[in-house]
Subunit: 293 residues, 2 copies
């Protein structure tokens, strides 16, 4: 149970967590802080948060749980700003898609409160953003990864775990490095590839017509290119080593594909496509099973 929850960044992710915890009766008071005052007022009107705090200091003061749900790029500044105002019993966690950069920033900024910081990442979301897009069941059955450090307090991990479980999520732990490698592959790389494709096509001279003949497959493939550009710029920069490694590998694979097409090597193409289909079908089968009650 959380007495006072401070959500910094009341968008899709922060707003959905607030809604879920309220529904679960896991929280007393919820205060919100963020850059867009209209979004925050809307969050109050929707009942997502109880009130707006206009400074970071007042938002975190006396809060026993502080959740950072802003784009990854702004977290360093926020950690520095809140450090002096955190209550002795406050636990701090975040929802960033990259854990290495945020953990480094937290270590530098939080000082003696660092053991109360639990790096976290809910594997959930849609391409939409803002509190209007938030909903209480976003985390139901989804995984939340926590990446505690050796110095992280067990009790802090336990409280963050209990929070996410109350929101309906399944909580797992892994190292910071492992998280960032795995997420680069399943999330960061696909987002960057989708942005790159849509941007390339949008800059073709006949782009209007190209999009006019796009069907459902294109729509699905490019859905993630409608995600928030600031958020993904930050993620790209924060996890660039792992992402660049994968991008180089992918570029080499494109080279192999070009070679197979140039030499009309149907066997290689079929092997590649069939292997991909089998892997994707297996992934979906597991994913669907996971979602069953």
């Amino acid at each position: 149970m959380i007495d006072k929850l401070a959500i910094i960044g009341v968008g899709l992710i922060g707003g959905s967590l607030a809604r879920a915890l309220r529904d679960a009766g896991h929280v007393g008071e919820i205060v919100g802080h963020g850059r867009g005052i209209e979004n925050l007022q809307r969050a109050v009107a929707l009942g997502v948060i109880d009130r707006v705090e206009t400074t970071l200091a007042s938002a975190v003061r006396a809060a026993d749980m502080v959740v950072l749900a802003t784009p990854v790029g702004s977290m360093k500044k926020i950690l520095q700003a809140i450090a002096p105002y955190l209550a002795p019993d406050a636990v701090v966690t975040d929802v960033g898609s990259v854990k290495g950069a945020i953990t480094d920033a937290a270590r530098k900024s939080l000082g003696k409160k660092f053991p109360d910081f639990v790096p976290g990442h809910p594997i959930a979301g849609t391409e939409k953003s803002g509190v209007e897009a938030s909903f209480a069941s976003l985390y139901a059955g989804r995984r939340v990864v926590l990446t505690p450090l050796p110095e992280t307090k067990t009790e802090a991990v336990q409280r963050v775990r209990a929070m996410w479980q109350a929101a309906g999520a399944e909580v797992v732990t892994m190292t910071v490095e492992h998280h960032d490698t795995v997420l680069a592959a399943t999330s960061h790389l696909p987002h960057l590839l989708a942005y790159t494709l849509v941007d390339m096509l949008a800059r073709q001279h006949d782009s209007r017509e190209i999009f006019a003949y796009a069907a459902g497959g294109f729509r699905d493939f490019t859905r993630i290119a409608s995600s928030d550009p600031v958020m993904w710029r930050d993620i790209g920069l924060a996890n660039r080593d792992a992402i660049v490694r994968l991008l180089k590998q992918y570029r080499a694979e494109i080279g192999n594909l070009i070679k197979a097409l140039d030499s009309a090597d149907g066997e290689t193409l079929h092997t590649m496509f069939a292997r991909a289909k089998a892997a994707r079908d297996a992934f979906v089968a597991v994913d669907q099973k996971k979602e069953e009650p």
Copy 2:
């Protein structure tokens, strides 16, 4: 109105057309031919076709409309095989995603019947295949592109147009070359990129875990990688010039992305992602409007 419709390849595309035409009362008898006898028997049991013809000759004999709905790679052989048996009043059309290769094959195979051949391509489909996946409304509000040649009979085009309109589609015409360029960008390239990504990730040593932490975005992005590998091998080979051109361009864009990440150039990343998001959001807005009644 079609008296006898012969569908060669009774899968998602051919089966859905049969169902739609039956529902619209636009067809008398529907016969089916294909390689998988179980699939054909299932098509009869489902009422999608009236009966199975075990040879191409008997399937097309006395048919006034012949629809080729097989993978692109098999169309050349089929066109050669049916040519001697086509009725004088028969119109032949296809549903292939590539029009250049099929048109060349038809010109060589059909001889004096070539003016009765109307190259076609419904911009519709799902990642599923087989007659079980077919449904009557697949083409409702979707576009069908016809690419008639200078020698194609106007009446043949008119009959194919009427057929697709009866199935609920909007029919447009363009040149073979233009079709193949546009579709390479919106359909062929995305499919090949999705296959390449899933195949690459499936071959990583920790692939099981990678897929375990994939979320909805990954699922959408890779949906097209569950498409039929034979179909896409054929499309890749049949339209390889246009596809390779785009793949090389895409590979260069990946190079630019790597450069921006390596130099921590957040401004370039943001510009690229924001431009992509704007284009994708605009495309979806138009696409949704199109689907409204």
